[in-house]
C-alpha cells in the first residue's frame, strides 16, 4: 500500500515574512514547507529548486511554440496599431518560457505532496503572478500576504491582483485598493509579520542607537538624519527614471545647508543595491563631489535599515514603507514628495504626524525637527497614536500569529479522518488503565469493596492483591468487559449501578468498606444519584475513592479558547464523557451528595508537567497562544497542569441518607 502524501504549503514568502511558516507548522504538525529561497529553520523544508530542475526542457519549449502564435495574435489585436510596427517584439519570450517551467514544477510538487496552500509576498512580477494564477487554476487556496503598504494609489499592474485572499497591514492598505476599485478582494487586516519585532525594537532603541553610532563613527552629540533612497520600477507613466538621483540631491543640499547654518548634524544615506555595487558607490562619491561636498561627513551604506532607523533623529524617505517603520519606533518621519508623490499622493494623512515636503521645503522642515524643542517629541507621539491605522500589529507585535492562523484556516481540509464517535459502536479499545495511585488512597484494611464501572477488572484485581481476603464486587454495564472482569474479581454484576440487584449480591446498607469510581463519574448521565446510592451502602468510616478527568487542564481550556472542543477516544474531553468537572465542582458535588473530601491527589498531564516545574516564584502567570491567566499560586498551577483528579470521600457527619 502506498503511503498517503504529506501535506505541504508552497511558499513564495519573502525572507522577512517567512517566520509565519514556523508558526503555521507549529499549529499544523507534519506540514512540509516547499519553499522558494531561504531555508526556513525549525520546519520540514523542501527547496522548490529541486522540482524546477526536474522539469524537462523540451516540455516547456514545445508548449511555448504552441502558445507563441496565440500570444502574438492576441497581443497584436489588443494593441490595435497603438504601438506601431510589430508590437509582438515587446513580448519577453524568455519570461514566458520561465513561467511555463515554473508551472510544470508546481504541478510536479503536487505529485509528491498534498498541496494544501500557496502563500506569497508579491503578486506582481512574473513569478508571483504565475504562482497565484497556477493556484487559482488548480483550486489550491492562495493567500497573498502584502509585503508593503501601497502608500501611493496602486497604479497600473498593482491594481490587478490575481490572488483573491489578501492579507494587509492596516486599514490604510484597504483604502488604497478601494480607491482603485479592487475592493472585491477578500481583505484580512492582520498586520505585517515582518514588523512584529518593532514594538520590542522601540524599547531597545537607545542601546541600538548607541551601537550603530559606534559602528559607523557617528558623533555622540550629532543629530542624525537618515535618508532611505528610492528607485524606479517603471510601472507607471508618472515614474521618474532618475528618481534615485533626483531625490538624493535635495537631501544632500539640505544637509549642506544645515551644516552651513552650524547645526551639529550628520547624514546616513541608506542606499539599495540595484546592479553593480562598486559602480554605484563610485557614482555616489562623484555626485557628492560634484555638489562640492567632498569634505562633508556622509555615511553611505547598504546595510539593514533598522539599525539606522533606531539611531536616527529624523528619517527622510520617498513614499516609503520605511517611514511607517519609523512611525513604529517614534522616529520623526519626513516624506519627500517628488512629482510622482505630488501627483499620486498624499501618502500620509494629517493624523499620522508625518511631515510631507518638496525639495524647497525640505531644509526648513529638517531644521524645524532637529532644532526646535518639542517638535520631534510631538511628531513621535502622533506617529505612535496613528500607526495602528497603517499596521494593526504596531503595538502588539502579533501579526505573525494572526497571519498563521488565517493560513491554517485557508488550507484545504485534511482528507476526512475517522471520527472518535465511530468508536462508540466498536468494542472499547481503551488501554487497560490501572490506577494504582487511587488504590493507594484506600485507608485501613477494606474487606468488602464495590468497584463501580469495573471495566476489565484491572484496578479491582489490584485491590485484591493489596488487601488479602478482600472481596471486590464489580458492576459493569458493558457485557464484554464484564465477562473479562469475571476472571479477576469475586463477583461481577452486569448492568448499570441503578439497575443491578446489589441486595441479591449481599450488599446491604452499611456493608461496604470502600467504593471505587475509577474514571466513571464523568461517563454517567447522573453521577450525583450514583454517589447518593452508594452512600447508603457505605459503612460509617467507609471510603469513596474516585477519579475524574480534569477539564480545567491548560491544554483543554486552551483548545476551547482557541475554538475547539475535540472529543478523543482517550483523553479529555473523551468521546464517552457526559459530565465535566473541575476540582471545585467535585467538591461541590461531594458536599451536595453528603460527603466530605478527606484526601486529594492529582496526576500531572505529562505535556504540562514542565510548565509546572519551570515555575519558581508565585504568584505566576500562564501565557497561552492568545490568552493569559494571572495570579496563579502553586496549588492552582498544579491543578491547571493535571490530567486527572483523585479524591477520597467520607460520609459527612450529621448528614442522613
Amino acid at each position: 500500500m502506498t503511503q498517503p502524501k504529506k501535506r505541504a504549503v508552497i511558499s513564495f514568502l519573502w525572507p522577512a515574512q517567512q517566520h509565519v511558516l514556523q508558526e503555521l507548522c507549529r499549529r499544523e504538525p507534519g506540514l512540509v514547507v516547499v519553499g522558494h529561497g531561504r531555508v526556513v529553520p525549525d520546519v520540514e523544508f523542501a527547496s522548490f529548486v529541486s522540482w524546477f530542475a526536474r522539469v524537462p526542457a523540451d516540455l516547456t519549449h514545445t508548449r511555448t511554440e504552441a502558445q507563441r502564435a496565440g500570444l502574438v495574435s492576441t497581443f497584436t489585436e489588443a494593441c490595435g496599431g497603438a504601438l506601431g510596427e510589430s508590437p509582438a517584439a515587446l513580448i519577453p519570450w524568455e519570461i514566458v518560457s520561465e513561467s511555463l517551467t515554473l508551472r510544470a514544477a508546481l504541478d510536479a510538487v503536487c505529485v509528491d505532496y498534498d498541496v494544501a496552500l500557496v502563500v506569497l509576498s508579491e503578486d506582481l512580477t512574473p513569478v508571483g503572478r504565475t504562482v497565484a494564477d497556477w493556484a487559482n487554476r488548480r483550486g489550491v487556496p492562495c493567500v497573498h500576504v502584502l509585503h508593503g503598504i501601497p502608500l501611493l494609489s496602486p497604479y497600473t499592474v498593482h491594481a490587478r491582483p490575481v490572488a483573491q485572499t489578501f492579507v494587509v497591514f492596516g486599514e490604510r492598505c484597504v483604502e488604497a485598493y478601494e480607491d482603485v476599485g479592487a475592493d472585491d478582494l477578500e481583505f484580512h487586516v492582520l498586520g505585517n509579520p515582518a514588523w512584529d519585532a518593532l514594538p520590542t525594537v522601540r524599547g531597545q532603541r537607545a542601546s541600538l542607537a548607541q551601537q550603530t553610532r559606534a559602528k559607523y563613527g557617528i558623533g555622540e552629540s550629532a543629530r542624525l538624519i537618515v535618508f532611505a533612497t528610492t528607485w524606479d520600477a517603471s510601472q507607471t507613466a508618472f515614474a521618474d527614471p532618475a528618481i534615485h538621483r533626483n531625490t538624493l540631491v535635495p537631501v544632500l543640499r539640505a544637509y549642506q545647508q544645515l551644516l552651513a547654518a552650524g547645526v551639529d548634524v550628520e547624514l546616513v544615506v541608506k542606499d539599495r543595491v540595484n546592479a553593480d555595487i562598486e559602480a554605484e558607490k563610485r557614482q555616489f562619491r562623484a555626485l557628492v563631489e560634484s555638489l562640492g561636498m567632498a569634505d562633508c561627513k556622509i555615511v553611505h551604506a547598504y546595510d539593514n535599515g533598522l539599525h539606522f532607523l533606531a539611531a536616527a533623529d529624523v528619517i527622510v524617505a520617498v513614499n516609503s514603507n520605511m517611514l511607517v517603520e519609523a512611525m513604529h519606533l517614534g522616529v520623526p518621519a519626513i516624506n519627500l514628495l517628488n512629482d510622482m508623490g505630488l501627483m499620486m499622493g498624499p501618502s500620509f494623512d494629517e493624523q499620522s504626524g508625518v511631515i510631507e515636503v518638496d525639495d524647497e521645503t525640505l531644509p526648513a522642515a529638517l531644521q524645524l525637527v532637529l532644532t526646535q524643542p518639542g517638535v520631534a517629541e510631538q511628531m513621535a507621539q502622533r506617529h505612535l497614536q496613528r500607526v495602528a491605522h497603517y499596521n494593526v500589529g504596531a503595538h502588539d507585535g502579533g501579526s505573525t500569529r494572526r497571519v498563521a492562523k488565517l493560513l491554517q484556516q485557508k488550507m484545504t481540509p485534511r482528507p476526512p479522518t475517522r471520527g472518535a464517535w465511530q468508536d462508540l459502536d466498536e468494542p472499547r479499545r481503551e488501554d487497560e488503565l490501572v490506577r494504582s495511585g487511587l488504590v493507594g488512597m484506600l485507608s485501613g484494611t477494606p474487606r468488602v469493596v464495590l468497584d463501580v464501572g469495573c471495566g476489565r477488572g484491572a484496578t479491582g484485581a489490584l485491590v485484591r492483591e493489596r488487601f488479602e481476603g478482600c472481596r471486590v464486587i464489580g458492576v459493569e454495564a458493558d457485557a464484554a468487559l464484564a465477562a473479562q472482569a469475571q476472571a479477576r474479581l469475586q463477583q461481577v454484576l452486569v448492568g448499570s449501578l441503578g439497575a443491578v440487584d446489589l441486595g441479591a449480591a449481599g450488599v446491604v446498607p452499611g456493608s461496604l468498606d470502600a467504593v471505587l469510581f475509577v474514571d466513571v463519574l464523568a461517563r454517567l448521565a447522573d453521577p450525583w444519584r450514583a454517589l447518593l446510592q452508594v452512600r447508603a451502602l457505605l459503612a460509617t468510616d467507609g471510603d469513596v475513592v474516585l477519579s475524574v478527568p480534569n477539564v480545567r487542564n491548560l491544554l483543554t481550556i486552551g483548545g476551547l479558547l482557541g475554538g475547539s472542543w475535540t472529543y478523543e477516544e482517550q483523553g479529555t474531553p473523551g468521546i464517552r464523557h457526559l459530565r465535566f468537572f473541575t476540582r471545585r465542582d467535585v467538591a461541590t458535588m461531594a458536599q451536595q451528595t453528603g460527603y466530605r473530601i478527606v484526601q486529594e491527589e492529582l496526576v500531572f498531564d505529562p505535556r504540562l508537567q514542565p510548565i509546572f516545574e519551570a515555575a519558581t516564584s508565585f504568584p505566576t502567570e500562564v501565557n497561552g497562544d492568545r490568552f493569559s491567566l494571572k495570579d496563579i499560586d502553586r496549588e492552582e498551577l498544579a491543578e491547571l497542569c493535571a490530567a486527572t483528579l483523585y479524591f477520597r470521600l467520607r460520609k459527612a457527619e450529621g448528614s442522613t441518607s
Binding site: A78, L83, R137, R160, A239, L342, M343, G345
Partner: protein
C-alpha cells in the same frame, strides 16, 4: 416580564468605516463660519438657533456678539458645560426650546444664525418666518440649507424662486443666496465632486486642512472668492441671508438676474463669462492662485480637482497660471497613459480568455512589459 428578541442580542460585523478623521474638514468649516459671521451677522444681539454642542459659538464670541443659544434640552447639556467655563464678559444665555419656534420676544435680536438646522424643522417656511420675527426690523436671518439644485426632492432645500416669493410675501429681502462649503464634504456632499469625494485619497488630502496652513488658505480662497459667487448648484449646500425689510430697491430682481446669468454662463461652460462675475479676476486671480498652489499639498489639491474637472468635461485651465496648467496637464496625461496601458493589457487578457491561451500567461507579462508599452504608447499632448 420583559421580552428579549434575539435580534437584540445578535452581533454582526459592522461595515467598514472610513478611517480618516471624523470631520476632516472641520478647520475649513470653522474658518468659513468665522468669515460668515463677520460678513453677514449683525450685532450686538444674536440668536444662535440649533446651538448644538456649541461648536459654532467661537466665531460669534470672537466677533464680540452677545449670544443667546436655543436648542432642545438634550443637546444643551453639552454646551452648558462649555458656557459655564466662559469668562463673565462673554455671557451666553441658553434657552431650551424648539428650533423651529425659538422662545423669545418679537424683534428681540439683531440677527438669527441657524446652521445645519433646516433639515431639523418640519416646514422651512414656518421656521424661517418664526426666525425673522425674532429679529428687529433691519435685522438679518442667516441660515444654510441643502442646495435645491443638488437635492431637488428635499423639502428643506428651497430654490431661488421659492425663496424670493417667500421673502416678498413676508416683507423680507433676500440679500444673498450663495453656494457654500463646496469642499467640506460631510453630511451635505457635493454631487459635482462625485466620484472624487468618495475616494480615500481625496479624504486623506482633506485631512490636511487641519495641519497645513497653505492648504487651508487655498481652500478658503476658493470658497470665498470663487465658489461663493457661482450658481448655488456647484455645492451641496447654500447660504441664505434674509433681511427684515421689504425689497424696496429691486434687490430681488438684481439677484435673480445675476444667478440666471451665472447659470447660463456655467451651463455654456463659458469660463470667461463666469470669471467676469467673480470679485477677483483676470491676472489678479491667476496671480493669487499661482501663489497659493506653490505649496506642495495645495498643488495636490488643484491637480486632483483639475483631473476631476477634466474627466467631467470642464476645463479649468484659464483659472491657472501657465506653469500650474502645465504641471496639472502633465499629471493628467500620465494618468491617461496609465489607463491606456491597462486598457491594452486588459484587452489582451480578455482576448486570451476567448482562446485556449491561459489568461494567466498574459497577466504575468504586465509587469515586465509595462515600461516598454508605456514608452511606445503615443502620449496625449498636454
Amino acid at each position: 416580564m420583559t421580552e428579549t428578541r434575539d435580534e437584540d442580542l445578535m452581533w454582526r460585523p459592522q461595515p467598514r468605516t472610513s478611517s480618516g478623521a471624523a470631520h476632516p474638514t472641520q478647520r475649513l468649516q470653522e474658518a468659513l463660519e468665522a468669515h460668515l459671521v463677520t460678513t453677514h451677522v449683525r450685532g450686538p444681539a444674536v440668536l444662535h438657533v440649533g446651538i448644538g454642542a456649541g461648536r459654532g459659538l467661537l466665531p460669534l464670541l470672537q466677533a464680540g456678539l452677545r449670544v443667546t443659544g436655543v436648542d432642545a434640552e438634550g443637546p444643551l447639556v453639552a454646551v452648558r458645560g462649555i458656557v459655564a467655563d466662559l469668562p463673565p464678559s462673554l455671557r451666553v444665555e441658553l434657552r431650551a426650546g424648539d428650533v423651529s419656534m425659538p422662545p423669545g420676544r418679537d424683534s428681540e435680536f439683531d440677527s438669527v444664525l441657524a446652521l445645519g438646522a433646516l433639515e431639523r424643522v418640519p416646514a422651512w417656511r414656518d421656521a424661517v418666518r418664526a426666525w425673522s420675527r425674532a429679529v428687529r426690523p433691519g435685522g438679518v436671518v442667516v441660515f444654510d440649507a441643502p442646495s435645491h439644485e443638488q437635492h431637488p426632492a428635499s423639502p428643506a432645500a428651497p430654490g431661488v424662486a421659492e425663496l424670493v416669493e417667500f421673502a416678498q410675501a413676508e416683507g423680507l429681502t433676500l440679500k444673498a443666496l450663495a453656494p457654500w462649503g463646496a469642499f467640506l464634504g460631510g453630511h451635505r456632499p457635493n454631487a459635482l465632486l462625485r466620484p472624487l469625494e468618495q475616494t480615500h485619497r481625496w479624504r486623506r488630502l482633506l485631512s490636511w486642512f487641519a495641519g497645513d496652513d497653505a492648504l487651508l488658505e487655498l481652500g478658503l480662497f476658493l470658497e470665498l472668492f470663487v465658489v461663493a459667487h457661482l450658481h448655488p448648484r456647484v455645492a451641496g449646500q447654500v447660504l441664505v441671508v434674509l433681511e427684515r425689510a421689504p425689497d424696496d430697491d429691486g434687490a430681488h430682481e438684481l439677484l435673480t438676474k445675476r444667478l440666471a446669468a451665472m447659470d447660463a454662463a456655467s451651463r455654456a461652460r463659458d469660463l470667461a463669462a463666469v470669471e467676469e462675475m467673480l470679485p477677483v479676476r483676470g491676472d489678479e486671480l491667476r496671480a493669487a492662485l499661482e501663489k497659493l498652489v506653490a505649496a506642495p499639498r495645495a498643488r495636490m489639491f488643484v491637480s486632483q480637482l483639475y483631473d476631476h474637472a477634466r474627466a467631467q468635461g470642464v476645463m479649468i485651465d484659464r483659472l491657472l497660471s501657465a506653469s500650474t496648467q502645465a504641471w496639472c496637464a502633465r499629471a493628467f496625461v500620465a494618468g491617461r497613459a496609465d489607463a491606456a496601458l491597462m486598457e491594452l493589457l486588459d484587452g489582451w487578457t480578455t482576448r486570451a480568455e476567448a482562446t485556449s491561451l491561459q489568461p494567466g500567461l498574459v497577466r504575468m507579462l504586465g509587469y515586465p512589459m509595462a515600461s516598454r508599452i508605456l514608452s511606445r504608447l503615443p502620449r496625449e499632448q498636454p
